[in-house]
């Protein structure tokens, strides 16, 4: 398929929404630059499985089919957003548990996300950072920040930024 965005208006289809999430995770644009209004209403809640994304209505049939065929069929998550690394692995990052980063996250070069670290879509790190806590949607953590385990930053203000943040 070919997807074209002539302007940065709210996504009106699944292909448009996925393109915007890809642009963020490919680091082609930074959080807050894209209009993602209404993206939750556009994306479908899906089963993300070892055989790819599956519509929840199709899931029982697919599970049965896999059993009959003697195939492994693992459901990794049931969510509107897939994990980022199934689509994009940005350069120069370490990610201890790939399930903790959603597609649409912006992981800056030199960032390490440890096992308990979490990064939502439209959020991320500007450069090298150590992430052991949670970065919620809308939050951008500055370069050389260290977000310690058990700490979180959530985006009640969607324009919050933290520079050189140290929090342990």
């Amino acid at each position: 398929m070919i997807t074209v965005l002539r302007e940065n208006s709210p996504p009106s289809s699944i292909p448009e929404a996925f393109l915007k999430l890809h642009l963020l995770s490919h680091r082609l644009t930074v959080p807050h630059e894209l209009n993602l209004d209404g993206i939750f209403g556009i994306l479908k809640n899906l089963a993300w499985t070892s055989q790819g994304p599956v519509d929840l209505d199709d899931l029982p049939k697919r599970q049965l089919q896999a059993r009959v065929n003697g195939e492994t069929f693992e459901v990794y998550s049931v969510d509107k957003f897939p994990k980022m690394t199934s689509y994009v692995v940005p350069t120069s990052v370490r990610i201890a548990d790939t399930a903790r980063i959603r597609l649409g996250a912006y992981i800056g070069e030199g960032t390490t996300v440890m096992h308990e670290g979490f990064v939502n879509f439209n959020a991320g790190t500007e450069g090298a950072a150590m992430i052991e806590g949670r970065i919620s949607a809308g939050v951008m953590v500055g370069e050389n920040s260290d977000l310690g385990g058990g700490k979180q930053h959530h985006g009640n203000s969607f324009r919050r930024r933290h520079r050189n943040y140290q929090c342990g």
């Binding site: 070919i2 302007e7 996925f18 199709d58």
Partner: protein
């Protein structure tokens, strides 16, 4: 704004449900603010998209578009290389 001024574009592979609806798309190499050359090649394939949108194409059409794009980008790079001595003289 010119018709070839695009915010972004991408070739992708979609997954569908049993009703034939698109549920997810993978774009291996999305482009932000694509060059005029790229935009022209792409828009030639999807004239039906007047605003933001998408079209579904066959794998064959995708392959020919991908090679047309590669060719167009090669030409565009060659044109730039030819202009390089000119630019260097001006500096």
């Amino acid at each position: 704004m010119s018709v070839t001024d695009l915010h972004s574009l991408a070739l992708g592979i979609a997954s569908k449900n049993s009703s034939g609806e698109i549920i997810e798309v993978y774009y291996p190499k999305p482009l932000l603010n694509p060059s005029t050359t790229c935009a022209e090649q792409m828009l030639a394939q999807c004239q039906d998209i007047s605003d933001n949108g998408f079209i579904e194409t066959s794998p064959d059409a995708m392959r020919s578009l991908a090679s047309a794009l590669a060719e167009a980008m090669k030409l565009s790079r060659a044109k730039l290389r030819r202009r390089l001595p000119e630019v260097q003289r001006l500096r």
